[in-house]
Structure formats: structure tokens, C-alpha cells
């Protein structure tokens, strides 16, 4: 056997990842699958779910990821795995009477959370609606582009993950790669996701996004402060979504969409704290949730501040 042959063999073996295995098994069963290639190493194939790993194993994985990302993007990366803060349940409220549809939040989110620029992924969709029709999702427009906003006769409704208390996306995941954390954030373990996209079908808000291609982010725009369950760089073939900026909120910061919004339409806080901004809103404003009839029980509220 020549060295070349040997090399080829190990290469082949390396490619035989857990995901490939599952894919083959599933397609044998007649499923249509993505057929994407994954760059996981052998250890990743045999490793347990992140949640069930020991501290030492988690640390090892994090160290490996940090090294990998730092090398790829030429910047020192931090991959946090900070646990929830005790006694928190995060909630969000958006003032529809304030939002002017400027999309500052969309791009602040892209930047903070390392969304792929090409192919483009946006976690926040700002829907333009007509005053006459009210909140009519069916006739809303996400591609509006006038010289100035707000446009006469219209209002704007940004939609991202509604962080349901009763999330359907997590229940349909066949491998339990996505779940709700104790602080209420619905997260995805990208290394465990097999890309079957069941969750995308189950989500009634279109909040989950699939990496159809290898995500591309310019080196100088990458955010190296990441969380394992949040904004760390993703790979082709996995699903991603808003995490309330888990890397920020678990150290007490506001999500970046809250910080960028020029009209202060976005409010965030701890639902368990009776003194929080979010509780004040729930108590004093006219609040509603999207598609209430589906019983998803979002922790993302819309309200009218006026």
C-alpha cells in the first residue's frame, strides 16, 4: 500500500461521520436528505450530546473549537458555555407603535451573531403592513425599500424566534439537537443537528434558518465573542435561529437588537423580576403574541406603547 493510498483510506474513514451515517441510514429508509458534507472529526462522531458530557469533555470540545475558529478567522476566539443565571426567564417586548422599519436590528443581529453573508441569512424579518389591514401576515411585505421609512399608511412588525414556552420545533427534532434552556432560550447544538429541517417545518414563525451552503463571513466582520449554543460559526447543513443573543444576555447585557434600535422599540428583561421593564409592559400595556391560537406561548410580546 502506498502512502497515498493510506492517506485516502483515512480520509474516507474520517468522512464517515455520525451525520453521514445517519444520512445513509435515513436515505435507506426512503427519506429525502440533504446530502451535505460535514467537517466533523472522528471524535465528534462518537461523542455524546453536549448536554450529557462531563465538564472535562466539554472543556476539551470548547478548546478544540476555539482553536479551530481562531485559525480559520485569524482572530482569538472565545467560545463560552456559560450556564443560565439562576432565577431568570427571559422575555422580550416590541413596541409596534414605535418601530419605523429601518432594519437596523436586522444587520446588528447579523453582525453580532455571525450569520452567513453569502448565502444570506437574516434571523430578523421586518414585515411591512398596511394600517388598513392590521397585522395581516399574509399580505405583509419583507422586501419594502422606499427612500425613507416609515411610509405613510404602514406599520412594521419585526419577527424572529418567539422563544415559545411550548416550542414545537424542539419536540419534532428526531435527535434532540434543539431544546429549551432553563432561562427560556431555545437553542441548537450545531454539532448534533443532522439538518433534517423538521424544526423549520414545525415553527409557525419562520424563525429557523438553514445553512444551504457553506456560510461565508468576511474575516474582519466576524464576532469572536461567542457562545457554544449561540453565535459560534456554523457549518453547512445545520439549522440556526435567534437565541436572544445568549452570549450577551447570560452576562447581563441587552441583546444587540435592543441596543441598536434608534427608536427604543425593543425591550428585554427577566420575566421573573416584578420590577423589570418587561413586567411593567405586561402589566400596563396592551400586549399580544403572534398566532396565539397555536398555543406556542411565546415569550416575545408585541405591544402598543401609545
Amino acid at each position: 500500500m502506498t502512502t497515498n493510498d493510506k492517506h485516502n483510506k483515512t480520509d474516507k474513514f474520517k468522512k464517515f461521520t455520525r451525520k453521514n451515517f445517519l444520512e445513509t441510514a435515513a436515505s435507506a429508509a426512503g427519506f429525502m436528505l440533504t446530502g451535505c458534507k460535514f467537517d466533523s472529526s472522528l471524535e465528534e462522531l462518537f461523542r455524546q450530546k453536549f448536554r450529557t458530557l462531563s465538564e472535562a469533555e466539554k472543556k476539551e470540545i470548547i478548546d478544540r473549537l476555539e482553536k479551530k475558529y481562531s485559525k480559520k478567522y485569524g482572530k482569538k476566539f472565545k467560545v463560552s458555555r456559560k450556564e443560565p443565571i439562576e432565577g431568570t426567564l427571559f422575555g422580550y417586548a416590541l413596541d409596534l407603535s414605535r418601530c419605523i422599519g429601518c432594519r437596523r436590528c436586522v444587520y446588528a443581529c447579523v453582525k453580532e451573531n455571525n450569520q452567513s453573508r453569502k448565502p444570506q441569512i437574516h434571523w430578523i424579518q421586518v414585515l411591512q403592513m398596511e394600517d388598513e389591514k392590521g397585522t395581516d401576515l399574509f399580505h405583509s411585505d419583507v422586501h419594502y425599500n422606499p427612500p425613507k421609512v416609515p411610509e405613510e399608511g404602514h406599520f412594521y412588525m419585526p419577527v424572529a424566534c418567539q422563544q415559545c414556552r411550548n416550542p414545537q420545533c424542539t419536540t419534532v427534532c428526531p435527535v434532540k439537537a434543539t431544546w429549551q434552556e432553563p432561562d427560556g432560550i431555545v437553542v441548537v447544538d450545531y454539532n448534533w443537528c443532522i439538518g433534517c429541517r423538521n424544526c423549520m417545518a414545525a415553527c409557525p414563525y419562520g424563525a429557523r434558518h438553514f445553512n444551504w451552503g457553506e456560510p461565508h463571513i468576511p474575516q474582519d466582520e466576524i464576532n469572536p465573542n461567542t457562545h457554544y449554543l449561540g453565535n459560534r460559526p456554523r457549518m453547512k447543513g445545520v439549522v440556526e435561529k435567534c437565541t436572544f443573543c445568549i452570549q450577551r444576555v447570560r452576562i447581563g447585557k441587552y441583546p444587540s437588537c435592543v441596543e441598536i434600535c434608534p427608536v427604543g422599540a425593543r425591550k428585554f428583561g427577566n420575566l421573573l423580576d416584578p420590577e423589570s421593564e418587561i413586567r411593567y409592559i405586561l402589566k400596563n400595556k396592551r400586549v399580544f403574541v403572534l398566532k396565539e391560537e397555536l398555543n406556542t406561548q411565546p415569550k416575545f410580546y408585541y405591544f402598543f406603547g401609545i
Binding site: C102, R103, H143, K148, V263, G269, D273, E277, I281
Partner: protein, 179 residues
């Protein structure tokens, strides 16, 4: 077991149960206190700057006699076009004629420029209430700690308070064009 020892046992049990309940309550209180953001520190963002050369007002106005007649300003401040209930109000309803570097409330009480929100709150009471709780206006920093807040005049020009339209950032690529 004698009656007496029974009594002693009972007292001890009651004592410990009470202590345990009190302890639990205390712990819960502690957690709640930790969660509460009431004591969080709120820092005003530096007040927006005045237009150049405009402040202190007394520099020019101390030498001028006060003209109480409602009129269109032509010699100075002609760039200010009042679009804020202009039918019913004019300069001296907010700016003090007696103490030029100050504002005043409807009742005559003087208010410094740093506290202009008090003036706004005279008419916009519910907004002031919401703003104090961080619900109207923008806050940045920490949801469970230090926050920076803006004053009314950071976002609203007091002479023309309606928020000005902005150029939107680009729309998302149409699905059929995503490559």
C-alpha cells in the same frame, strides 16, 4: 414515654420545623432580591450639545429688554421653526424670561436644561411615567445592572419633536436570488 418527655419532643419538632420554614423563606427572599433590578444603577447619557455659540443665553439676553409679544423671530434664532403645538405656545412658555439660562414649568418653577424632561412631562405625563421605567425611549447596558438612558431631547428636537424618517437598510435578498 412520660407525658413530660412527649411534650419536650413535640416542642423540639415544632421549633425545628419553624426554623426550617423561616430559613426557606429567607432564601427565597434572597433570590428575589438578587433578581430584582430595582437597585440597578442608572446613568444618564451626556446631554446633547447646544447649537454652537447659543449657550449661555444670558450672554446676549442680559443686555436685552424682554419683549413679551408673541412674534416671529427674525433677528436671531430664525432657524427655529416651532412645530410643537405652535398654535398655542411660543418661546417663553418654556424658556424663562426672568432667568435666561433656565427653563420653567407652567407654574413658574425653574428647571435646568439638564432636567428638561420635567418640562416635557407636564403635557406628556404617561410618556414620562413609561420613560422612568425604561419602557419609553432607549436603554443600553445591562438588563440586570448598570444602564444608560437617554433624555427626551436626545431623540426629539424640542422645537420639532416628531422622529425624523430614516433611510432603511437594504431589504433581504429575494429567495430566488439567494446563492
Amino acid at each position: 414515654m412520660t407525658k413530660k418527655s412527649k411534650f419536650i419532643y413535640l416542642t423540639i419538632i415544632i421549633f425545628f420545623t419553624a426554623a426550617a420554614i423561616a430559613g426557606l423563606k429567607h432564601k427565597r427572599k434572597k433570590i428575589l432580591r438578587k433578581r430584582s433590578s430595582k437597585k440597578s444603577i442608572e446613568i444618564p447619557v451626556k446631554a446633547p450639545p447646544f447649537s454652537e455659540g447659543i449657550y449661555p443665553c444670558s450672554e446676549c439676553h442680559d443686555d436685552l429688554e424682554v419683549n413679551y409679544k408673541r412674534r416671529k423671530l427674525v433677528d436671531e434664532h430664525d432657524n427655529i421653526v416651532l412645530k410643537h403645538d405652535e398654535k398655542n405656545r411660543w418661546c417663553l412658555d418654556c424658556h424663562s424670561a426672568a432667568k435666561r439660562n433656565w427653563l420653567h414649568l407652567a407654574g413658574g418653577k425653574l428647571v435646568s436644561f439638564k432636567e428638561s424632561y420635567k418640562l416635557c412631562g407636564q403635557c406628556h405625563g404617561p410618556k414620562l411615567r413609561d420613560w422612568k421605567r425604561g419602557v419609553h425611549g432607549k436603554r443600553t447596558g445591562y438588563w440586570n445592572g448598570k444602564k444608560k438612558y437617554l433624555l427626551c431631547v436626545h431623540c426629539h428636537n424640542p422645537h420639532d419633536p416628531k422622529f425624523k424618517p430614516l433611510k432603511p437598510l437594504p431589504p433581504p435578498v429575494r429567495q430566488e436570488n439567494i446563492k
